[in-house]
Structures are given as structure tokens and as C-alpha cells.
């Protein structure tokens, strides 16, 4: 065996690892993406968590998936459907097969397809492949559980511990299938289990066994695929999720500004990992307070900002509802604050683990009174770093709360992250009140150019002042109900936001002669980009303008939007960005593509819908 393998060159491939929540599919997927990224492939990953907290083992609702998309050239999404599906049990095959491309290779652990397993997975007969219409030739069926036990028989481990290594056998098989260098995986495991060398050793042994199994017995069934790397950007990389990148962005911004980073937060899916991440880094002086509720999370961050820190609060949509009054307090007091909204499916508790873009109008308008607030939406897992940095810089330099929007898809997805060099990032200069203004300073004196008031941090002699939620005199800050003053202050607060400089909207693709301009915002960037690439490959003239800065809009937004014959605004809501743009751009009447499924866009569906618009 193993004499003559057909090596197939592929431009990209998606692998989906699926199994019970406890089967370690995330880890297997992570290692595979790291191994691929290390050789320079482009990667994009997406975890699909079960909605149940702890569904019964082997049940349909307890299946967890992790999709890894690797490409020789740039990949923008985790891929619509997979080329290889790993199903560690019957329930995984049942629920995940729909994510497999026709002709995809399927790896199953036959030891988890016994009568009881099939029953839990609601198969009617023992011919599960037949029931699902799967061609057995495409299936790499192996008794993974038994082989793992055999492989570790001499290890002295108990059966439960052995079975935790099943994911590594599957990983070994996949590594064989894609001709990956196992040493990278071994090093990863040695690092991860540095304190438990026995565990590392067992996992390494099982990966090797999985690899050898593929090599020895299945060369006749499957091809070996190779994904060469093109357009490498040399540098040092790490794998990062959106939530981690967001946390890193806040840390970097605080360090650049020379301020303490304070996070007030309350656990909420899918934002909690930001709290987890920041809580780890006390050695950088990061202060995190897990508050009694969402309100206190935001309110305490406002208090921290008043006291001279970079105040941040992190949450998801339902938390924004609760924080809105404290956010408004930061609006009227004109204090820096970053509010992170990792969007999930709504309304109310909605779909906590799923992704949507349905909070945009809430971010823009969800507060009482005239309450302008900048809104920034991160476009990818790695962009979360830059977006968080930009949000913090904007908040600190413009003395305003800023909403940073991500979503469950971007937050949980990961990609290769080129290590940033903080020295190359722009300086952050909060408008501290100059010492020479002592005596003549008042809290609402503004820089005439930017409209930003000065920041006097408690502890400075001679700058004592009071801020508050009541309307204040436009200079002294004393409580004022004067009608002219209120009108003036309303305008001043709005103009301050309008004056914020944001980068121009970039047009990608056929920017000069596109028949269709695709418009989106935030986390759908990858899918819209992939759809544009596909359409252009089909010979269509298509461009993409993707918004990251939503309030204020880029200065060239109207010009871009009015330049093209046809424009489609595609978003995972009922048309919130389209509505905002129509409000801001005269006579702008776009086509719309709206989908609210709690799942990422599917590129093929986008291509079909956009083609229909082009052909109209």
C-alpha cells in the first residue's frame, strides 16, 4: 500500500470537523488550521456551537462543528460547504452532512455507529449511508475508537482518558489526506500540554496512528491533496479569533495612550470571551470587573473613564438595551467610552450563539434624545484588532462613547494574524486640558477645530468640575434649561461627531465600470468579497464597497453609492444599513439582499441573487 498516490493540486479546501460537544472538534480544527497556516496557506475558521448547554451525548442537538477553510491564495470565508467532513458519531453525520459538497470525502468513526448511536441520531435502519444517500466509496470508515484504544494500550491511561484522544486520530487522517507536516502539530501539542507531557505524548502518538492508518490502508480510496501557497506575505503570524483580536486591540490602544484599561462587563454570549481574555492580562495592568449586571458594566466603565482610564464595556444586543442609558450619560458628559456589541440573533434572547447584523439601528439610534454616537463595524476576525484600536482612539481623542460592532461569526471565527507592530500604529492623544488654562478653564470649553471639550482628570489641582446627565451650559457646565442653550448643545454634540475624520470608503473589483456595486458592512466582508470574486470569474463587472465606519459615514460615501447603475445592499437584517444610507444619501434607492437566518451568508446564494439583479 501507499505505493502510488495521486496528488491533486487544489486552490482551496474546506474541512469540517464534527462530533459531540465533548469530542474536542474545536481543538482538532484549530491544530489543522495552525498547521496549514504555518506553511503559509490562507485560513479562515468558523466554530458552530450547539445551542444546548450540555445536550445528551450522541444526541442530534449536542453536535458541535468546526470548519476550516484553507487556500493557496486568499480565502475570505470559512467556505460554504466542505470538501471533507469528519463525523465522529452518527448524530454528527446526520446533522452535518448538509454542509458537505457533493462528492466530499467523509471520515467516520464506525465504532460510534452502533445500534444505540443510530437510534439516538434518529436513523431508521442500520444502513445509515443508504438512508442519507451517501456513496460508500466516498467514505473513509474506520474504527477510530478501537484503534485509539489499541494505540494507547501500553500508556497506562484509563479508557476515558484514551477516548479523549479520538479527535487526534481524525486529525492525523486529515493531515495525511492533505499532506501536512505532522511536526508542526506535534510542536503545537507539546506547547499546549507543556505541563502535562503525558497527555502531549498520547495525543502525538494518536495523530501519528491516524496518519499512518490513512497512509497504509486508504491510498486506494482517496487522493492526497496538496494546497500550495501563493502570494505569501512574509512575517510572523498567530491564529486569532475576533474576540481575542478585539481584546488585543483594546490592550494595544490603552498602552499607546498610556492609560489604564478598565473593562466593566457582564457575561453574555457571544461576547464573554472578551471578558475572559482581558481578565487574563493583569500583568499588563488590565482591570476587569465582572459586574452585577449589564447596566453596572457600562456605568462603571463611565466612572472609570471619568477617573482617567480607558473605560470599555463588552456585551451583545440584549446588553446594549440595558446599557443605553449609561451610554447616553457618556454622550452628554462627553467622556470617552468604548461599547462593544458582539451581535447575535434577536430580538430578546433570540439566538444567543448565532450571528446577525440586526443591532445596527439600535447602535445608531437606540437611546433617548438626540444622542449621536460613532459606530464602527469590524469586517473580519483580524480586523477586530484594528477596529478596536480605532474605536478606542476615536473615543479618547473625541471625548465620546463609540460603539464597536462585531458579530458572533467574526467573534468566534479565526484567521492568521500577522503580529502587529504597535510602533507603526498612530499615536493616541487625548485632549487633556492644558495646565495654562488653570483658572480660566470650564468643563465645556471646546477646541474650536474639532469641537471636542478638554479632559480634566480628577487628581489635578485647580480643575475640579462637575459633570452630569442634566443639560448643561455650553461653557460653564452648570445645569441649564435655557432653550437656546439646549439647542446649541444639541448641535455641538452632533457637530463634534460629524467632524470625526474616518478613512474613505474603498471600492474593490471593477471600480470604474461595474454593472453592480455590492454594499455591505461589518462581518459579511468575506462573503461579499468571495461573491464578487466568483461573479468576476464568471465575467461579470462587479465592485464591492464595504462599510467599516458607519457613523460618521466616510466623506466619499455618497459619491461612491451614486456612481453605479445598480447597487445592492446585502446585510443580515431587514435592511438597516440600506435605511441608514437612504437617510444620509439623497435619492439613493438600492436593491436589497436581506437574510436573517443566524448563519453566515452562503456565497453561492449571494452569487445567484446578485446575478439575478445584474440580469434584471
Amino acid at each position: 500500500m501507499g505505493e502510488k498516490l495521486e496528488v491533486k493540486e487544489l486552490a482551496e479546501v474546506a474541512v469540517r470537523f464534527s462530533g459531540d460537544s465533548g469530542d474536542g472538534m474545536q481543538l482538532a480544527g484549530n491544530i489543522f488550521s495552525t498547521v496549514s497556516a504555518t506553511v503559509g496557506n490562507s485560513i479562515s475558521t468558523f466554530p458552530d456551537y450547539p445551542a444546548d448547554i450540555r445536550a445528551p451525548q450522541g444526541s442530534l442537538t449536542g453536535v458541535s462543528g468546526f470548519q476550516v477553510h484553507i487556500g493557496a491564495d486568499m480565502v475570505y470565508t470559512p467556505g460554504d460547504k466542505c470538501d471533507v467532513l469528519v463525523a465522529m458519531n452518527a448524530a454528527a453525520l446526520k446533522t452535518q452532512y448538509k454542509y458537505a459538497k457533493p462528492g466530499a470525502a467523509i471520515i467516520i468513526d464506525t465504532d460510534s455507529f452502533g445500534p444505540a448511536d443510530l437510534k439516538k441520531a434518529a436513523f431508521a435502519t442500520e444502513d445509515y449511508l443508504g438512508e442519507m444517500g451517501i456513496d460508500p466509496d466516498r467514505v473513509i470508515a474506520c474504527p477510530i475508537t478501537q484503534m485509539v484504544k489499541d494505540c494507547l494500550a501500553d500508556s497506562g491511561m484509563d479508557v476515558k482518558a484514551m477516548l479523549k484522544c479520538r479527535n487526534m486520530f481524525a486529525l492525523g487522517l486529515v493531515c495525511w489526506l492533505f499532506d501536512r507536516d505532522l511536526n508542526i502539530a506535534f510542536n503545537f501539542l507539546k506547547d499546549k500540554f507543556a505541563k502535562k507531557p503525558g497527555v502531549a505524548e498520547a495525543n502525538i502518538k494518536v495523530i501519528q496512528a491516524g496518519y499512518d492508518y490513512g497512509h497504509n490502508t486508504h491510498s486506494s480510496v482517496a487522493n492526497v491533496y496538496r494546497i500550495e501557497t501563493k502570494n505569501k506575505v512574509p512575517g510572523r503570524y498567530m491564529d486569532i479569533t475576533g474576540n481575542k483580536a478585539t481584546a488585543y486591540g483594546f490592550i494595544a490602544a490603552a498602552e499607546k495612550a498610556g492609560l489604564k484599561l478598565y473593562l466593566g462587563s457582564y457575561p453574555i454570549t457571544p461576547a464573554t470571551d472578551v471578558l475572559h481574555e482581558l481578565s487574563k492580562h493583569k500583568s499588563l495592568g488590565v482591570t476587569t470587573v465582572q459586574c452585577e449586571d449589564e447596566i453596572a458594566g457600562c456605568a462603571s466603565a463611565v466612572g472609570a473613564s471619568f477617573a482617567g482610564a480607558l473605560g470599555v464595556t463588552s456585551t451583545s444586543g440584549p446588553g446594549i438595551c440595558l446599557k443605553s442609558e449609561a451610554m447616553n450619560l457618556a454622550v452628554i458628559m462627553e467622556l470617552p467610552l468604548v461599547v462593544l456589541d458582539v451581535q447575535r440573533g434577536g430580538p430578546a434572547t433570540g439566538l444567543p450563539t448565532k450571528s446577525e447584523q440586526t443591532d445596527l439601528l439600535q447602535a445608531l439610534f437606540g437611546r433617548n434624545g438626540e444622542s449621536p454616537m460613532p459606530v464602527i463595524a469590524a469586517t473580519s476576525p483580524t480586523d477586530c484588532f484594528d477596529a478596536a484600536y480605532a474605536a478606542a482612539k476615536m473615543a479618547l481623542e473625541h471625548m465620546t462613547p463609540v460603539i464597536l460592532m462585531t458579530d458572533a461569526y467574526v467573534a468566534n471565527g479565526s484567521a492568521a494574524f500577522k503580529l502587529p507592530n504597535l510602533a507603526e500604529y498612530p499615536a493616541i492623544n487625548p485632549p487633556y486640558v492644558p495646565e495654562e488654562l488653570k483658572g480660566s478653564w470650564a468643563p465645556y470649553l471646546r477646541n474650536p477645530e474639532t469641537g471636542v471639550r478638554y479632559w480634566a482628570v480628577p487628581g489635578r489641582e485647580g480643575f475640579q468640575h462637575i459633570l452630569g446627565g442634566l443639560e448643561k451650559d455650553n461653557k460653564t457646565g452648570a445645569i441649564s434649561t435655557d432653550p437656546e442653550n439646549h439647542d446649541l448643545m444639541t448641535h455641538l454634540r452632533q457637530e463634534k461627531i460629524n467632524k470625526i475624520q474616518v478613512p474613505d470608503l474603498e471600492v474593490l473589483g471593477d471600480k470604474d465600470d461595474a454593472d453592480l456595486l455590492i454594499v455591505g458592512f461589518g462581518g459579511t466582508y468575506g462573503h461579499l468579497h468571495a461573491a464578487m470574486d466568483e461573479l468576476r470569474a464568471q465575467g461579470k463587472k462587479v465592485a464591492l464597497a464595504h462599510f467599516k465606519y458607519i457613523n460618521p459615514l466616510p466623506k466619499n460615501a455618497a459619491e461612491v453609492l451614486k456612481k453605479y447603475k445598480r447597487v445592492v445592499v446585502a446585510e443580515q437584517n431587514m435592511g438597516q444599513l440600506a435605511g441608514w444610507l437612504r437617510m444620509k444619501v439623497d435619492n439613493f434607492v438600492p436593491e436589497q439582499f436581506n437574510q436573517v437566518k443566524g448563519q453566515p451568508f452562503v456565497v453561492s446564494e449571494l452569487v445567484e441573487a446578485f446575478n439575478a439583479i445584474i440580469n434584471k
Binding site: R236, G303, G308, I466, G468, A478
Partner: protein, 334 residues
């Protein structure tokens, strides 16, 4: 440098003539001057309500925030900048109704805040609705037939939330108020000061029994740590333990001498008797306890946060962003 009352005063208070807030404000100015923390190292943070206007009359840093959130905002302020002395000022509605959650959690965490609760048992700013401290049956604009709910007794909430400091004063009693404010400042941790005060417009007379000096002589007891719990116009009464409760005794009667009287222990970890003192005076023949009822040392949240940061800094090898990046699994693309 020594400070005077003038160094903490600002502006002209706009409360109704005779409002308890005027009395309290004067005592707070006085207490701050005696404590001597610089006005620029002091922050006074309030929520919403008549009494929450107070920071406007302070020459310190201050915030008059939103309804109910003063304790949460003060928490962030203190944790982010532990060098500041933070006073949090709320009324009974702001602190115990809409802000009840933050009140209990600030006590539980033991944030080093001086938490002032100005209790007039009414909503004044919204013009006369019952509050969570209004007694059962209380008639107000929103309860024309009387309330059908029991009030909070602030000490119970504080103790129930594992609070380590609780003191009480009557607004019109300047020395008594100044004394507990100074004690609150000196206590490291959340320090609740309940100030009994009158609302001349919507709840006039609510604290009449103890509002005048004469009333207090008859109906109040000034508790002092280490001193026997004696009260009365001629110090003729005392408190003794009886079964699971307290009783009022007359010194000299039934062979009772001053030695038999219960000695106040504000530093006792077990709050059982302190709570009994705090709950006295509800029309049951007991006097209203004034002064520092509970004052027990405990680690403060803000100190622990700082200490943990220092500890982790010493343990971990990464101390800036560039070093943080290096803690990840990194690969190089050449």
C-alpha cells in the same frame, strides 16, 4: 495644608427651605475640611433625585449621573483610580429602589466608597410618591389608599449584603453627622451612612421623633464602640440582651446597674446584635440607634484588585503588548 469648609463649598443650593439636604450638605463640607483630603483628590458621585443635586454644591470633582447608578459609577471610578476619595450620594429611591442592585453589590464587594443614603422616605423630585422606605400603609400620590408593601430597612439590606460598615445620623444633628462621616472615611471599605432627613413638602415630620435635639434625647441612643448602651434624658435607660432579642431596662430598678448594660461592639464580625440595634425604633418602645453601629475591617475590593495585579505582574513574564503577542503560538512565513 489645612482646608476650611470654604474650600469644599460651591454655589447656592436650590433645595426647598428647611429641606434636610441643606443640613447634611453643611455637615459634609465640615467633615471634609476636618478630614483634609484635597478637593481635587475627592470625587462626589450621585444619581438622580433632590439629594443627588448635592455634587453641584461641592468644590470637588463630581458627577450628578443617572437614576440609580451612582454606586456602579462610583465603583468604576474608585477601582480605576484608587487614589481618589470617593463619596457616593443617593436618596432612598435612587439608592434602594432603582439602584438597589448596585447598593447591595457595592457592599458585598466592599468597594472603598463612602456611601451616603439620604432617607426621607419619599420621592421628592417627582413630587410625592412613596419610596421603598415608606412604611406600610403610607398614603401618597401614588398610593392614595395606602401602600400594601413593607419597606426596606437599609441596615438589613446592608448587612444582608455582607456590609462591614453602617452608621446613622439625623440631618439636623451636625455633630452626629460629622462624626459618622469621618468614621465612614476612616473605614476602609464600603461605608453606608444612613441620614434621616425631613422632606418639608411631601413627607413633613417623618423623622419627628428624633429630628429635634429634645426628641433625640428622649427617643434616640448614641451608640459608641466600647461604651455601654445607655440612653434617656438622664441616661436612665439601658439595653440588655434577653433571649434572642434586646430589652430596654431602667438603671437602678430591679437591681440593674450600669455594669449589667450591654456594651456596644461595632467591631464584632457577627452582625446579629448590631442588626438588632439598627432595627430599633420602629414604634416598639426602643430608641433609634444613631452613630456607628457596625465598623468591621475587611479586605477592600479595590485594594485586592491592585494587589492581584501586582502579584500577577511579578509572576508573569510579559508586561507590555509586544511581550503579550509572544505568548502565543507563532509561526513564520518566509
Amino acid at each position: 495644608m489645612a482646608y476650611t469648609v470654604q474650600d469644599y463649598k460651591k454655589g447656592q443650593p436650590r433645595w426647598c427651605p428647611g429641606c434636610g439636604d441643606h443640613f447634611f450638605l453643611a455637615s459634609l463640607h465640615k467633615a471634609m475640611a476636618e478630614i483634609g483630603v484635597e478637593p481635587w483628590n475627592t470625587a462626589v458621585i450621585s444619581g438622580i433625585g433632590c439629594s443627588s443635586r448635592l455634587p453641584h454644591y461641592m468644590a470637588t470633582y463630581g458627577m450628578n449621573t443617572i437614576h440609580g447608578r451612582a454606586a456602579a459609577i462610583a465603583t468604576g471610578c474608585k477601582v480605576a483610580n484608587p487614589d481618589l476619595t470617593v463619596w457616593q450620594v443617593s436618596g432612598d429611591g435612587d439608592g434602594l429602589a432603582i439602584g438597589g442592585n448596585h447598593f447591595i453589590h457595592a457592599n458585598r464587594r466592599n468597594i472603598n466608597l463612602n456611601m451616603i443614603l439620604l432617607n426621607n422616605r419619599i420621592y421628592g423630585l417627582t413630587k410625592g410618591q412613596y419610596s421603598p422606605t415608606s412604611p406600610r400603609g403610607f398614603v401618597s400620590k401614588s398610593s392614595p389608599y395606602g401602600t400594601v408593601e413593607d419597606p426596606f430597612r437599609p441596615a438589613e439590606l446592608c448587612f444582608g449584603a455582607r456590609g462591614h460598615f453602617f452608621a446613622r445620623a439625623v440631618a439636623t444633628d451636625a455633630p452626629g453627622t460629622v462624626e459618622i462621616l469621618k468614621a465612614a472615611y476612616n473605614h476602609k471599605g464600603a461605608a453606608v451612612c444612613e441620614i434621616l432627613q425631613n422632606c418639608v413638602i411631601f413627607n413633613n415630620g417623618t423623622h419627628d421623633a428624633v429630628y429635634s435635639k429634645e426628641g433625640r434625647a428622649k427617643n434616640a441612643i448614641y451608640v459608641q464602640h466600647g461604651k455601654p448602651l445607655i440612653f434617656g434624658e438622664n441616661n436612665e435607660f439601658g439595653l440588655m440582651q434577653e433571649g434572642f432579642g434586646l430589652k430596654v431596662v431602667k438603671i437602678g430598678e430591679n437591681g440593674i446597674t450600669e455594669k449589667d448594660i450591654l456594651v456596644h461592639d461595632a467591631h464584632c464580625e457577627d452582625n446579629t446584635l448590631q442588626l438588632k440595634l439598627a432595627l430599633m425604633g420602629n414604634g416598639d418602645g426602643f430608641p433609634v440607634a444613631l452613630g456607628v453601629i457596625r465598623d468591621v475591617d475587611a479586605p477592600t475590593y479595590d485594594d485586592c484588585v491592585t494587589a492581584q495585579i501586582e502579584e500577577v505582574k511579578a509572576q508573569k513574564k510579559y508586561h507590555n503588548f509586544a511581550e503579550l503577542l509572544e505568548t502565543n503560538d507563532i509561526w513564520e512565513v518566509k
